[in-house]
């Protein structure tokens, strides 16, 4: 018991020492715990990036292999465009070729090069003075709400062509069977999600 107290005192003294003269004096905080006691909390050290994300699904969908996925996560956004846009463009070409077609300029008027150029820099644009929507027809990429159907929007921008419904299971010859695959929706909507309208917005966990 006594020994432990000495240890705590020593730690505190050491940290206060850091605070007064160490190089890391910006990273130790003296605060109070739940019982009102003084504690020193250590935030020193260097933290190295392991994961990065701006928009949903970019790395998952557009990186063709594990090596690319790993590299994308440890590349800063300002360097992502040059390094990954050519890879993502080829991926767009390949995913269309798998269904025997070529990419068609999408509902936003973006050709494959422009679309992959925008997506390769994996950041989310947020318009602080406008309503938030990933895309609702009026608000275009002004952020991401908890119920935005980002998967369907991404699929529409990627596969939907100029009208947004290019691959929607159409029955072209009228024989009652679809001739085109469904690629513009995953068939899952936000209907099952009921976030709160007040902080912290996310629903209580399942238990």
């Amino acid at each position: 018991m006594k020994h432990t107290n000495f240890k705590i005192l020593f730690v505190l003294l050491t940290m206060i020492g850091f605070m007064s003269c160490g190089n890391d004096d910006d990273a130790v905080v003296i605060t109070t715990d739940d019982d009102g006691g003084m504690i020193a909390v250590d935030f020193t050290g260097t933290f190295a990036q392991e994961d990065q994300m701006g928009r949903p699904g970019i790395n998952t969908v557009l990186s063709p292999d594990n090596t690319t996925e790993n590299a994308f996560n440890v590349t800063i956004p300002s360097a992502q465009g040059a390094a990954f846009q050519p890879i993502f463009l080829q991926r767009a070409v390949d995913l269309h070729a798998a269904f025997g077609v070529e990419y068609e300029t999408n509902i936003l008027g973006l050709d494959a090069t422009t679309l992959t150029t925008i997506l390769a820099s994996d950041v989310l644009q947020v318009a602080p003075d406008n309503p938030t929507s990933y895309f609702d027809g009026t608000n275009i990429l002004t952020g991401r709400t908890l119920t935005d159907d980002v998967i369907d929007i991404s699929l529409i921008l990627f596969f939907g062509g100029q009208n947004g419904d290019r691959f929607n299971g159409q029955d072209l010859d009228g024989d009652g069977t679809p001739d085109l695959p469904i690629l513009v929706t995953d068939g899952v909507s936000a209907a099952g999600e009921t976030p709160s309208s007040s902080f912290p917005y996310l629903e209580n966990p399942h238990n």
Partner: protein
């Protein structure tokens, strides 16, 4: 014989369950998937108060009901904000747990940008909140900024297994309508910060040419070296 059959069934079940989890874990790169630094989702939206922006960073996805998963004290979650469109962070908001409490720093301008970060605990805007284990959310507010950290229902919805079939060339008809939400019934560890826009610096014209004024934001998970 009976025991062997049971064992066989058990092994089969384990394989099936592992298969499902592995499929879903492929949401991100193998180096980080399934680790405590695995970011599952990032949201940024107008708050209930229109002058605020809400940032949500989720880590460690696909947690089962009643999960006792914890934030990692060695993992710093950093929200980056670029106010001039050069794709370099001008402001950061940092969150890191210590002994059941999530500590927040910022928004503030970092002394260095890029892959490596340090924490300036003396920055003017700081806050902390007890980490919520489940049920009722514990929140805190300081300097007009609201804070939350803890277990939440995962708001993401996606037929991820069918997506894998589509890009794997195993689904010539594409997606199913209706599809299956593979994230239904799962939890995630969530960090939520609501910040007055006045603390978020400037904006620039949207890069997609829509004429709307925006800032760029993204989240990083960084591990102590």
């Amino acid at each position: 014989m009976k025991k062997t059959s049971l064992l066989a069934i058990g092994v089969c079940l384990a394989l099936v369950i592992t298969g499902v989890l592995v499929a879903a874990d492929h949401l991100d790169a193998p180096d980080v998937a399934g680790t405590t630094a695995d970011i599952t989702d990032f949201y940024a939206f107008e708050g209930a108060t229109a002058d605020n922006t809400v940032f949500v960073a989720n880590v460690q996805g696909l947690l089962p009901p009643g999960s006792s998963a914890q934030f990692d004290e060695n993992v710093l979650v950093e929200i980056n904000i670029d106010t001039n469109g050069d794709l370099v962070e001008d402001l950061i908001i940092q969150a890191i747990p210590r002994d059941g409490v999530m500590y927040f720093f910022g928004p503030y301008a970092p002394t260095a940008t890029g892959l490596n970060s340090t924490i300036d605990a003396n920055t003017s805007l700081t806050g902390q909140v007890d980490i919520s284990a489940g049920g009722t959310a514990t929140t805190a507010t300081a300097n007009g900024i609201s804070y939350f950290a803890g277990l939440r229902e995962d708001p993401f919805f996606f037929d991820f297994n069918q997506f894998n079939a589509v890009i794997g060339g195993m689904a010539p008809n594409g997606f199913n309508v209706p599809g299956n939400d593979d994230f239904d019934g799962t939890n995630v560890l969530s960090i939520v910060v609501e910040v007055p826009n006045i603390l978020l610096g400037g904006t620039f014209p949207h890069p997609a040419g829509t004429g709307v004024e925006v800032f760029n934001t993204w989240v990083e998970a960084k591990r102590k070296q």
